[in-house]
Subunit: 442 residues, 2 copies
């Protein structure tokens, strides 16, 4: 067999990096749970018509089929694809199980998703997302929209990463404003404004003229709206100063004021109202979120979401929702790439028990049993090589302690191989310093 | 949108069941780490030729392709499939990263896998496996084969499930024995003996005659070997009593004696030598494991594995390994089906903070902030409905406490809605009994 090579877009971490990822996922999950979100996992596949039903055929969906299946047959398998986010499957889950769920339903979901995108820096074909959503039946109270950034703010603050800034906008502001200036295709306007970072104001103005039929004045107004950004409710004055009137615009401003004011009260500096945020052409209908990792702004949002009123409905029953999603793989990819995260050792092991010779392996095994029973991660040396070699086994992996079982009635001894300090110890009593028990992420 | 329906073979748990699954996965992971196994995740896809290279085209592999991809083009995507286990990807990972890994390499891996099997009870198309493996370069010490059942024995004992019995055999015993009685196609014999549970001794004898050219005496000997089972090294006497001599047989017996004797020393009753265990036609070359959940034997093995010497090799470098895999989804499916696992509530929330009216929501939010900062999972009531309705919100989800912020200088009060007991409490100090902090799985 020849040496295998990586597959572009399908990242694999080293064990040390995976340890960091687990630490990150544990912290995120713990924050989600302290806010009372219940865990959920959905299957990796959805019917293809579900995945494509928002008409976004540009989504690069992966289709699956059984290798042994009859490619012509109506097995149904041919109509399955891998989910590209966790919101569409969640909306489907809510519809399917509505009778068994209690509403409003708060759930978190941490899973891999797949997109057949062209791989590039920060873009993956397989990646982990950590989502929270709240859905209710018929109506969803707007205060939930203010809660989302607080939860992810807490989750991200619990990690050894740079601070973040959540940029919040509201689709109603954009749509109401565009309508208020006389533009009739808000989606086309949104799509053009969404390119502001890429093609600049002049490019957007041109695109607005071409694709949305905007006059110079209309384009200028749309660009002026997109320029507005403020860490507090003062953004509302800036919007009003543009002199556009529309009831949907007013509704959106009021909702956004609530989000930024709540955030300012509980997490000062976390949120800004940023009226250029559009979230592409997703299913959002109100508040939308993006998140910059400070110092890594140019890599795009690491945490996005918004309110969706029309994603889950069956007949006359509607399940409006709001959610936000941390792009865990993107976040880790950025920080690993910058060498900004490290772990104190590459195995969970705290103690390596040395083996004097193979006949005495059982004595070493017994030490390990005693240490493990008290929660101390322990390995027994795989070979009875010279002690120097066994110590190097520990050193190479960053294992801090090597344990030497006493021979012929002598007491056991444990050596801190970083300091070289060695002392008598009993396997039923010795405990490492708390900081050494688990690998430390920093 | 019409009501979606489940997809056969792709199970989805309720939030309460997912909470139980997480509890189970946390316990398993914690046991793996206390034995010093490092975490690893591999991508969900492998090149199709890798997945099929053991020639087992009967494996029902799922192939993936990009919906937008050129079906004719040499994109490489058409040659990818979803992994059907975690051992084949791990062997590939070891080869790909051999230069960066320290050997022997101990890793655990907990991930979903996919198989396009015909769905039936206890068989899924998407399921979670929890694997440990140890690989070394060139040679792998046999004591690792005795370690595997001890690790999973500890992991499974840490769960509120019935006891398990690990059945151990060794391929060398079978192959050496078959050779010793003069049969030349050990794979054909294994395949026939593997059907013992399904078609009985007479059926196996017939199959042995048809597919392996076995005489009546040879078939009888093979069946006599398969009948041997013992919780200790006495199985070896039973094998010798059959009077067959072969060096590979002797080697296998010696290895199996070590596994059952080590298990008997550290985990009495956990392991039995059971010489009918064959593990189909997998890649195993020595020790093989299957595991029965007592009381659920007829559903098959919930934890299987073995030693493989030839799965990972590049040129003259070989990486022999041994591993074992807990079928988490199968285990949970059985126990959920039998109603044998439950959780004390269906959300992580310990406290619901009531909201007297929407103008006072900020006061309730502040209580939640104080409780969460001390790790107490807390929700704020989504609506300022009558308190009776807010209490029912908690009751429906099993949330044990409802908190009433004091109005007009009155102290806050907290009510245990199970007992009805209500008392004054300060959000910066009150702590629930330890047993109420997290949902309990039993």
């Amino acid at each position: 067999m020849s040496k295998p090579t990586p597959i572009s877009g399908f990242p694999e971490w080293t064990p040390a990096q995976r340890m960091i990822e687990q630490f990150v996922l544990d912290r995120i999950r713990s924050t989600f749970e302290v806010y009372g979100f219940a865990p959920l996992e959905t299957r990796a596949v959805e019917p293809l018509d579900q995945l494509l039903r928002k008409g976004e055929t540009s989504k690069e969906v992966y289709v699956i089929r059984r290798l042994q299946g009859d490619p012509e047959g109506p097995t149904g398998d041919d109509a399955l694809g891998l989910h590209f986010d966790l919101t569409v499957p969640f909306a489907r889950y809510v519809l399917e199980n509505a009778g068994r769920l209690s509403f409003p339903f708060r759930r978190y979901q941490i899973q891999k998703v797949w997109r057949g995108e062209r791989p590039q820096e920060g873009r993956y074909r397989e990646f982990v997302q950590a989502d929270i959503d709240i859905v209710d039946r018929d109506d969803l109270a707007t205060h939930h929209e203010a809660e989302m950034p607080l939860v992810v703010g807490d989750a991200l603050r619990s990690l050894p990463i740079p601070p973040v800034r959540v940029q919040v906008n509201n689709r109603k502001i954009c749509e109401g404003f565009y309508r208020g200036v006389g533009l009739t295709d808000p989606e086309a306007v949104l799509r053009a404004v969404d390119k502001l970072d890429k093609i600049g104001p002049a490019g957007v103005a041109q695109l607005l003229a071409d694709s949305a039929g905007a006059s110079e004045g209309q384009a200028k107004a749309c660009l002026a709206l997109a320029e507005i950004s403020a860490p507090d409710a003062s953004f509302a004055d800036a919007v009003r100063a543009l002199g556009v009137n529309d009831p949907l615009l007013d509704e959106g401003v009021e909702e956004l004021v609530r989000v930024v004011e709540t955030a300012a009260a509980y997490a000062p500096g976390l949120c800004v109202a940023d009226l250029r945020i559009a979230r592409g052409l997703d299913y959002y209908t109100g508040t939308v979120y993006e998140t910059q990792l400070l110092g890594y702004e140019r890599f795009g949002s690491i945490c996005s979401g918004g309110r969706y009123d029309n994603l889950a409905s069956a007949g006359s029953v509607r399940f409006p929702g709001v959610g936000i999603s941390i792009g865990v793989t993107r976040l880790l990819g950025l920080l690993f790439g910058a060498g900004a995260l490290s772990v104190s050792r590459e195995v969970p092991t705290c103690v390596l028990v040395a083996v004097a010779n193979e006949e005495l392996r059982a004595a070493s095994d017994s030490v390990a049993v005693a240490l493990r029973s008290r929660g101390i991660p322990t390995e027994v040396s795989p070979s009875a090589a010279k002690f120097g070699k066994q110590i190097r086994y520990a050193q190479r992996r960053g294992i801090p302690y090597v344990w030497f079982p006493g021979v012929g009635g002598a007491p056991d001894e444990v050596k801190d191989i970083r300091s070289g300090e060695q002392m008598a110890a009993a396997s039923g009593e010795w405990t490492p310093p708390r900081a050494d028990l688990r690998p430390l992420v920093s």
